[in-house]
Amino acid sequence: MTMETWQGVVTILMAVLGTVITRFLPFIVFPESERPPRVVEYLGKVLPYAMGGLLVVYSLKNVTPFSGTHGIPEAVAIAVIVALHVWKRSMLLSIAGGTAVYMLLVQVVF
């Protein structure tokens, strides 16, 4: 670890604080007995889908398409995950298979 222990603890506490805020916010803004406005209900239905996509891109932000490995290991591993998941629909199998392929590629091939 590059930072001091207290700095690590503060970092974690900030992560806790941010997460807790996101969880409690709707219950504070919309107290019991009041129905939330329709826009909020609509967003509640569609936004989780967009978040899914955003998280995928976020986790791939360190990929360098024009240098290094050109993102080939990532692309291959994701293709394996998609294929496994469409085939078996087992979360464990898909993640384990994709990660194993990725580790093999970055450690042995590239």
Binding site: T22, F24, F30, P36, L43, M51, G53, I81, T99, V106
Partner: protein
């Protein structure tokens, strides 16, 4: 409120089978998270505390990177808000179900992670089982699996440091891809649009901000921006759909 033992055991017996699928995937994911931290040189106390207190998998994986880079608590806070933004919508969906829960409500909200939301929002609770305690036990069991896995993984990881675990961090990408696929395959077409926008807009933002791999600061501001763009385009989409519906209806 007096609680009798029968109410508790009934709720627990209803909650255990519903949380079993989560048990398997949580142990696996948390174990790999713990191993990852262990191989980066952290004692098992770190993953144990982080899994218990942060208790949202994606942010925990991200925090590993934060701990390994320069000290920046504000970036950590903003990232937690952005990555956790989805919780706001879980909360909105659970407003009705978590009503009148008394003190339990605080813990239910605190422990409302993706999987707990999935189980509690969709669960058909058997007759005669107390809803509040059922939700509570599902939340508690899920958190228990997660902390257990992370702690075991941390213990294991400390001893694995000689092993080549390069690439293990891809588990996080794998998790997100699988969640995305599950949403995609179980949703109607309207949500595909949202899912695609969730991919396309961040990619455009990453390209526009000059690099595909921004620093934390530019990453946070581009995500905020894409959130704004997304909401505007989505509003417009919603309005168009409404108009289309009206047209069909008046015809």
């Amino acid at each position: 409120m007096r609680v009798n033992r029968e109410t508790l055991s009934k709720a627990l017996r209803a909650a255990v089978p519903k949380s079993l699928p989560v048990c398997v995937s949580f142990l696996f994911l948390a174990l790999s998270y713990g191993v990852l931290m262990g191989t980066k040189g952290f004692s098992f106390v770190w993953p144990m505390c982080m899994s218990a207190f942060i208790f949202t998998g994606s942010m925990e994986f991200v925090t590993v990177n934060l701990l390994l880079s320069a000290f920046n608590p504000i970036a950590a806070f903003l990232l937690a808000i952005m990555i956790g933004a989805r919780h706001i919508f879980y909360g909105i969906s659970m407003l009705g179900k978590y009503r009148n829960m008394g003190v339990k409500k605080f813990y239910l909200i605190y422990g409302l992670c993706d999987e707990t939301f999935a189980v509690n929002s969709g669960a058909k609770i058997p007759q005669g089982v107390d809803h509040g305690w059922f939700y509570c036990f599902v939340t508690l069991l899920n958190q228990f699996y997660w902390v257990l896995g992370a702690t075991l993984g941390g213990l294991l990881g400390e001893r694995l440091s000689s092993l080549n675990t390069n690439g293990l961090e891809f588990i996080l990408t794998g998790l997100f891809v699988v969640v995305f696929l599950d949403q995609w395959m179980s949703s109607e077409r309207k949500s595909h649009m949202a899912a695609l926008l969730g991919i396309v807009i961040p990619v455009i933002c990453l390209t526009l901000t000059g690099s595909w791999f921004p620093r934390w600061s530019s990453c946070s501001c581009c995500s905020l921006r894409c959130g704004g763009i997304w909401m505007i385009s989505n509003r417009r989409m919603g309005r168009m759909q409404e108009q289309a519906r009206m047209r069909v209806w008046t015809r």
